[in-house]
Point group: C2
Amino acid sequence: MLSPNERMVASERTDSTVSGISEVARRAGVSKSTASRALGSTGYVSEDTRERVARAAAELGYVPSTSAVSLATGRTKNIGVIMPYLNRWFFAEVLEGIQEALLEHGLDLTLYDANPGSEGRARIFDDYLARKRFDGLIAVGLEPDHRELERLVAIGRPMVSVVGSGETTTLVAIDEEDAARRATEHLLALGHERIAFLGGRPDRHWAQVDRRRLGGYTSAMEDAGLGGAIRHIHSDVTLPGGYAAAVNVLGDLRERPTAIVATCDEVAIGAIIAARRLGVQVPSALSVIGIDDHEYAEMFSLTTLKQDPRAQGRAAVDLVLAHLQDPHRPHSILRQRATMVVRSSTAPLAPDRSAAVTDARA
Amino acid sequence: MLSPNERMVASERTDSTVSGISEVARRAGVSKSTASRALGSTGYVSEDTRERVARAAAELGYVPSTSAVSLATGRTKNIGVIMPYLNRWFFAEVLEGIQEALLEHGLDLTLYDANPGSEGRARIFDDYLARKRFDGLIAVGLEPDHRELERLVAIGRPMVSVVGSGETTTLVAIDEEDAARRATEHLLALGHERIAFLGGRPDRHWAQVDRRRLGGYTSAMEDAGLGGAIRHIHSDVTLPGGYAAAVNVLGDLRERPTAIVATCDEVAIGAIIAARRLGVQVPSALSVIGIDDHEYAEMFSLTTLKQDPRAQGRAAVDLVLAHLQDPHRPHSILRQRATMVVRSSTAPLAPDRSAAVTDARA
DNA sequence: CCCGTGTCGGGAACCGTTCCCACACACGGT
DNA sequence: ACCGTGTGTGGGAACGGTTCCCGACACGGG
């Protein structure tokens, strides 16, 4: 803790420290422009003066004013990040990845939380983004509608999406459909046939991601000649959502699937918790597979298709920087590969399912 | 999706739209200064010209340059938020609350993720904050060390902390000690005596919060004459951390407590999951109480002391704005009250503990 | 009729940088 | 001896706003 006195001193020092580059210049005995050149890396400056200026700047604790720099250069040294949720694992991880990478490049991050359907979201698109407080924009799982996309384009700043469609912007994502397909095929290979897909709900805010994953599941089932067994259990894409949906489904013994492909690990874990509650043994009576490799996946021994959202965030930063450097760089799609992590939430189909159930009750 | 053609148009419009206030002025047939006055709310402008200017601005899609405005006014219309974690429930919720409130005030948010012990954290304090890209700062659960606090003070911008100590800055938080004390007293009232505290680890990064909560637990125990039964089980303050710690503790039948005060809901839920795994019935064989009222609390029927992090975030915004308006406003402490939410993870101590255990195995 | 007072508008300074341009100087080649 | 050319430096105009100051004008009261 600082004593009030020390605080006073610190604050006074601060006040005198608002000195601009001209004070630095004066102290170093050079002109403003020379000081600017010395501090920056452009133009001719003798090694001697460069040092003098650097010393003067250090002594004064000089920090260039970001607004002045932005005004003069047209660069904000700031990247905007817009995402619909903050409190879901994937989004928070991506955000941390972005933040890490930006930190290394000396860039700031301004955050826009655009909750689907909120009035705030409209304001962000109409007012906030137009302010262009950033050099580039990263949209994470945004899934903009037509009007929103229009706005985004109108900003005229490089933009990259993490998760979503890559038709209009550069994209980094895993192949959602492929991931779900592989998850399903894993279960098929284990002998399961009554495989249900858990997650998503075809309504206004139904995420494209979940739709794509459902698509991957569907085509895997069809390819296996199990088109008739396709079953989509609606669920909020959250852990409690998965739990609630699974409780209902698993409660009905006759309708119960032997395996579940969850749209993401949160939902999968919800299902596992539901199964435990109902005495349905995982994996002997029910196999569950997710997508993500969530922080909790290991603790629940969840088999999953691992993706690395942090790396996606970092990649997004690299890409937006590349676009910044070369404005004519064409859009691109960076697909990261999801890798299967087999733990023990999946197992071969038990020869007699009812036996397994009995086991669970023993 | 926009066709390439439409995109072109939009982008061209954008390019011509970079028009400044002088273009607006010209179009409205007034001078720059009049236009500025008309758009802002200061000074005398006739209703007539105000309208003409407004129309011209609208037609041109004029958006003032934030850097120019900041440079001229000294206000960035931006609030910095610095926090050590993004992917933990409490922090994400506070952040959303802050974001919501800022949105209503037309302010932007720039985020600094200062993970304790990371090199990034040092850079943030040394370089990033000094840039003063913000009018005010909100620190969430930051717990700065001496050097960091010095930096923070040196910035010379209003600052409010959410969670932490209010000695140097304005603070909004619940009374951590009181919350833990009440949690403990709840268990005591139910007849429990072997009550353990779960969470935190006295090491370099041990959060003050957990220390305070441990303190509340300790004094409640002492006041009940149970000082000898005090037991602090170390655990990472995460759900898997609580799980891992609880698994070990509950595995030992003789040492097993009859009730657990967890430092937060994530840890509490981890403990509940561990108990279920081990066949220890909650609440008949083990009562668990947490602090937070986490998103998952209801799903696990967790008794807890509810706090409202979103509201804390909003309150922090109000406070920082108040400090901005009145620079001489003294530091203050805003204590939010934690309210007990009784669900069914806590119950009276079973007369015979071993009987309860047998029950669980039945 | 003259003069405050209340409105309205314009010119110019200023915010703190960058950057273009002009200039000075030293040096080597012709 | 003279003239590029390559370096180092300073002056000053942007960048895009806000805001102070002052002049013009209308109006009503003394």
